[in-house]
C-alpha cells in the first residue's frame, strides 16, 4: 500500500505529485479542479493513517457548525439591535457576547479536546502517575498511546483561528463545508504547515485557477530548491546528529556495544547541536519551499514561514523570521487577548506608575509572553524538554526586551551606535549561539539528557577521547558538501535580504543559460543528495508536532 513518509518520498515525487498536477492541469472546469484537489488531499491523508481521516473530518465539522452558530448569533444580535432604544443596546450586546463566548468556548474545547487527548494524554497521565508516586499512592493510571493524525497540530490551529475570527466578526461564516474541508486538508500544507489563515488562503484555494506555464515553472523551481536543502543538507547531517543525540552501536567481536553522547568530547556535542540547528532549518524551510512551490503551481496563496532567520539581531527578531505563521498565530490569538485582558491591563497600569513608561509596559507584556511561550513549548511536543525550550525562549526574549530599553538609554547617553556592521555581526552571532543552545534541549530525547549534554559542553569541552569514523557517522567529504551547500544558502539568503530573487534573475537570462543553470541544480541534487543505499532520510521534523 502507498504511504508517504514525507513530500520527498519517492512514491510522492514520482507518482502522486505528477499525477495530481497533471490531472489538475487537464481538468477543464473550476468545479472539477476543486473536487480533484479535495480528493487528492483526502487520499494523501488516508494513505497516512486511514481511519485517522475521521479526526480531520470531525475537526472540519466542528469548525463549520461553530462558525454557523456564531454567525447566527451575530445575525440575531444585529436584528435585535435595530429596533432597540440606545440605553438597552449595551445590555443586549453583553447578553449576546456571553452567548457567543460560550459557543466559541464549546467549539474550541472540541477542537482542542481532540488534540489534547491524542497528543497530550500520555504526557499528562505519565506525570500524574509520577506525582502520585511521590505521595506513595499505589494507584497508577494506564498511560494511553494514540496514533496521531498527520498535521493535527497544524489543522487544529487553522480551525481555531477561523472560529476566533468569526467570533470577532472579522470573517463571515462559510456555509460550504467542502470549502472548509479543502482549506483544512490541502495536501501541500498538511504535513508541516504553514499554518494558513482563512482570509489569506481559502479564496485562492477555492478558485482552483488553471495552471499557467509561469506558475508551473516557478513552483517547480522552488520545489527543487527545497529538495536541495532537505536531501543534500538535512539528510546528509542525519547520521552525525542521530549518533550524538541518540547514541550509536558498534560490533566488537560478537557483542553489540552501545555508546551515548558521553563518548564525545564537549566540542563535538556543541558541533552536533549546531549541526542539528542547520539540519532543522534545512529540513523545515526545505519542506516549506516544497509546500509553497506546490501551492504556487495550483495558484494558492500560502503564507511564507521563513525569512532568513539566521540574520536576526535578537531572539525576538528570530521568532519573527522562523516559523512565522506559528508566531503570528500566537501573537493574534494568545498574546493580544492576554495583553488586552482586564487583569493584565491593570497590572500594566500599576507597573507604569512604579517603574515608569519605559519599563512599566514590560510587566504586562511579560505575562502575555509567558502564556505564548508555555503554549509554544507545549505545541512543539508533549515533553518537559519542549516546555523548557519554551521557557528558555521566554526568558531570552524578556531579557532582550529589558536589555533593549537599557541599550536605548545607553546609546542616547553615550552616542554608541548599534546599527554599525561589527555590532550587527556580533548580535547575529550571539543570537545564533543562543538559538543553537536552545535547539540542543529541543533535540535531546529528555530534559535530563539536554542538561547533561549542555554540561558536557561547558565542563568537558576538550577531552582526550578519540572519535571514530563510526561515531562521526559522516566523513570530511560529507562535511565539505554540507558546508558548500550551506554557503550557497547563505548567498541566496543575502541576495533575498537585498530583495533580489534568484528565480527572477535566472528567468531573465537567455534560454540556454537558463536550462544550464537548472540542469546544474538538478545534477547537484542528484549527485550530492544523501539518498539510496546506506542513507536513512530524516523524518519530517515538524510533522511530529
Amino acid at each position: 500500500m502507498i504511504t508517504f513518509s514525507s513530500y520527498f518520498d519517492t512514491a510522492f515525487l514520482v507518482l502522486f505529485l505528477p499525477v495530481s498536477v497533471a490531472v489538475y492541469m487537464i481538468l477543464p472546469r473550476q468545479n472539477l479542479r476543486r473536487v480533484w484537489l479535495l480528493l487528492c488531499s483526502l487520499f494523501f491523508f488516508w494513505c497516512d493513517g486511514k481511519g485517522l481521516l475521521v479526526f480531520i473530518l470531525l475537526s472540519t465539522l466542528f469548525m463549520h457548525h461553530g462558525g454557523l452558530w456564531l454567525g447566527k448569533l451575530q445575525n440575531e444580535l444585529d436584528a435585535a439591535l435595530t429596533d432597540l432604544p440606545k440605553e438597552e443596546k449595551k445590555a443586549v450586546r453583553e447578553r449576546f457576547k456571553k452567548r457567543k463566548r460560550l459557543v466559541l468556548a464549546f467549539f474550541i474545547a472540541l477542537e482542542l479536546g481532540m488534540l489534547a487527548v491524542l497528543k497530550y494524554a500520555g504526557f499528562f497521565v505519565n506525570n500524574l502517575n509520577g506525582l502520585m508516586g511521590l505521595f506513595s499512592s499505589g494507584t497508577r493510571f494506564i498511560v494511553p498511546h494514540f496514533l496521531l493524525p498527520m498535521g493535527i497540530s497544524f489543522y487544529t490551529m487553522q480551525a481555531m483561528s477561523y472560529l476566533f475570527d468569526v467570533y470577532r466578526g472579522k470573517l463571515a461564516p462559510d456555509t460550504n463545508i467542502g470549502r472548509l474541508l479543502l482549506y483544512m486538508s490541502f495536501f501541500p500544507n498538511i504535513m508541516e504547515g504553514p499554518i494558513c489563515r482563512w482570509s489569506d488562503t481559502a479564496e485562492s484555494l477555492w478558485n482552483a485557477e488553471r495552471v499557467t506555464y509561469e506558475r508551473l515553472t516557478r513552483g517547480a523551481q522552488r520545489i527543487l530548491w527545497g529538495m536541495v536543502k532537505k536531501i543534500v543538507i538535512a539528510d546528509r547531517l542525519n547520521p552525525f546528529v542521530q549518533n550524538v543525540f541518540g547514541g550509536y552501536d558498534v560490533m566488537e567481536g560478537a557483542d553489540l556495544l552501545h555508546f551515548d553522547f558521553t563518548a564525545y568530547p564537549g566540542w563535538v556535542v556543541a558541533l552536533a547541536a549546531a549541526a542539528f540547528t542547520l539540519q532543522l532549518y534545512a529540513e523545515f524551510s526545505g519542506t516549506m519551499d516544497f509546500a509553497l512551490g506546490l501551492g504556487e503551481i495550483f495558484g494558492v496563496h500560502t503564507p511564507e514561514n521563513f525569512q532568513r532567520p539566521f540574520f536576526s539581531l535578537s531572539i525576538s527578531e528570530f521568532w519573527k523570521r522562523w516559523h512565522i505563521t506559528l508566531g503570528t498565530w500566537f501573537r493574534d490569538y494568545v498574546f493580544y487577548p492576554v495583553s488586552m485582558s482586564a487583569p493584565v491591563k491593570k497590572l500594566t497600569t500599576r507597573a507604569r506608575k512604579k517603574l515608569g513608561n519605559r519599563f512599566g509596559p514590560l510587566a504586562g507584556g511579560a505575562v502575555a509572553l509567558f502564556a505564548v511561550w508555555i503554549f509554544n513549548g507545549l505545541w512543539h511536543g508533549a515533553g518537559w524538554n519542549y516546555i523548557f525550550f519554551g521557557m528558555y525562549h521566554f526568558t531570552l526574549i524578556l531579557l532582550g526586551n529589558i536589555a533593549d530599553v537599557v541599550m536605548i538609554r545607553f546609546s542616547e547617553k553615550t552616542g554608541f551606535k548599534r546599527d554599525i556592521l561589527p555590532v550587527k555581526l556580533f548580535r547575529i552571532f550571539r543570537t545564533a549561539l543562543l538559538v543553537v543552545l536552545g535547539e540542543l534541549f529541543f533535540r535531546a530525547p529528555t530534559l535530563r539528557q539536554g542538561f547533561s549534554m549542555c554540561g558536557r559542553i561547558f565542563t568537558q569541552f576538550i577531552t582526550n577521547q578519540t572519535v571514530s569514523r563510526a561515531a562521526w557517522g559522516v566523513d570530511w567529504k560529507d562535511a565539505f558538501i554540507v558546508g558548500v551547500t550551506a554557503a550557497i544558502m547563505l548567498v541566496v539568503g543575502l541576495l533575498q535580504e537585498k530583495g533580489k530573487g534568484i528565480r527572477e534573475r535566472v528567468s531573465e537570462k537567455p534560454v540556454v543559460l537558463r536550462y544550464l543553470f537548472w540542469y546544474a541544480v538538478v545534477l547537484f541534487l542528484v549527485v550530492f543528495g544523501a539518498y539510496g543505499a546506506g542513507y536513512i532520510p530524516v523524518d519530517p521534523m515538524y510533522a511530529e508536532f
Binding site: I2, L15, A254, L523, V526, V527, G532
Partner: protein, 314 residues
C-alpha cells in the same frame, strides 16, 4: 501554449540525456567492491562466463548463510550462484534476477521465502525501477571516489566471487530448542498485495527465461513460523510453483546446538551443508544437475574451489 509544451519537452529530454550521461560516469567500471559496486558478492554473477550457471539462489541473509555453491560443485559438478543481500526486498530480488538473466540461463531459481514477508512500499519499488533506468541514482555517492579514469575507462565486469555468493562463517552460537513451528494449524500470515504482485512478476520473469522458480524456507527459529509456512504454501499453490519448507518437522535434522551461528537466526556452516545437501537431492529429482567437472571451460570453478578450500582451512 504549444511553445511552452515544446520547451518543457526539450528540457526534460535534455535532463534525461544528462542523467544517462552522468550514469556512465558514475557507474563503477569494474564489479568489485573496491570499484564501488553495491552488493559485490551478489553482483559477482555478472563476471561469470555466459550461460555457465545452472542454479540461482535468491533471498536475504538467510540465503547467503545456507546455500553453498562450492559444496554443490564438489558433490555434483553442477554450478550455482547465490544472489542474496542483507535484508533483501522483493523488488531488489527481481532486479538481481533480471540482471542475472542478461548473461545466464539457470534452469532452476530458488527463492528463500523470508523475503516474501519483508515489507515493501511503492516508493521503494519505484526508485528501484528508476535506479535501473538511470544508474546515476544508484551510484551517485561515488562522487567521493571519482577519478579521471571514470571518464575514460569502459565498463568491464569480469570479477566473480570464489564462494559464488555464499558467506562463510565459523561462528556457532547454540539456540534453545523450541517448537517454533507449532501453533494453529490453519493460521496464515498475510502476505501484502504488493509483495504478492512482485512475487508473481518474479515467477513470470523465470517463466519467460525458461527457468523453474522454487520457493524454499531454510531453517530459522527467529524468522519462520507455522503461519508464515501456511501463507507461503497457499501463495506457491496459487502461482503454481514448488515450495519446500525445511522448518517443517521431520524435513531436515537440524541440531540447534551446532547448526546455527547466531542462536537460531541463521545457519552455521554445518547447518548450511545440511541445507545444501537437501537442495542437491531436490535438484537431482528435477534432473537439473549437470556435471561440468570434465569440461575445460569450467576450469575456473576448479581453481576457485581450491582457493576456497585453502582459505576455509585456515
Amino acid at each position: 501554449m504549444k511553445k511552452h509544451v515544446l520547451s518543457a519537452v526539450i528540457f526534460m529530454i535534455g535532463l534525461a540525456l544528462l542523467l544517462l550521461l552522468a550514469g556512465l560516469v558514475f557507474m563503477p567500471k569494474s564489479n568489485t567492491k573496491e570499484a564501488g559496486i553495491i552488493d559485490a558478492a551478489a553482483n559477482g554473477i555478472l563476471g561469470e562466463p555466459e550461460n555457465t550457471v545452472d542454479t540461482l539462489f535468491l533471498g536475504d541473509s538467510l540465503a547467503y548463510s545456507a546455500f553453498i555453491p562450492m559444496h554443490i560443485w564438489e558433490e555434483t559438478g553442477s554450478t550455482s550462484y547465490v544472489c542474496s543481500t542483507g535484508e533483501q526486498q522483493l523488488q531488489y530480488t527481481s532486479e538481481l534476477l533480471k540482471k542475472a538473466f542478461t548473461h545466464q540461463s539457470p534452469k532452476t531459481v530458488f527463492l528463500e521465502a523470508n523475503v516474501i514477508y519483508r515489507k515493501v512500499n511503492l516508493g521503494t519499488v519505484i526508485y528501484t525501477k528508476l535506479y535501473d533506468a538511470f544508474s546515476v541514482f544508484r551510484y551517485h555517492d561515488r562522487w567521493k571516489d571519482l577519478s579521471v579514469q571514470d571518464l575514460t575507462r569502459r565498463k568491464n565486469y569480469s570479477w566473480t566471487d570464489d564462494e559464488k555468493g555464499f558467506r562463510y562463517f565459523t561462528d556457532v552460537r547454540a539456540a534453545e530448542e523450541t517448537d517454533y513451528m507449532a501453533g494453529d494449524e490453519y493460521a496464515s500470515a498475510e502476505i501484502p498485495d504488493l509483495n504478492k504482485a512482485l512475487l508473481k512478476e518474479l515467477a513470470d520473469t523465470c517463466a519467460e527465461h525458461g527457468a523453474e522458480l522454487v520457493i524454499i524456507s531454510v531453517p530459522s527459529m527467529k524468522n519462520w513460523s507455522r503461519a508464515k509456512h501456511n501463507g507461503v504454501r497457499a501463495l506457491a499453490e496459487e502461482i503454481g510453483v514448488d515450495y519446500y519448507d525445511l522448518n517443517a518437522p521431520g524435513t531436515l535434522m537440524i541440531d540447534w546446538q551446532t547448526d546455527t551461528r547466531d542462536k537460531g537466526d541463521h545457519m552455521s556452516y554445518s547447518g548450511a551443508v545440511k541445507v545444501t545437501d537437501y537442495v542437491i537431492e531436490r535438484l537431482a529429482e528435477k534432473q537439473a544437475l549437470t556435471d561440468h567437472r570434465a569440461d575445460p571451460a569450467y576450469a575456473p570453478w576448479h581453481e576457485a574451489f581450491a582457493r576456497v578450500k585453502a582459505k576455509n582451512a585456515q
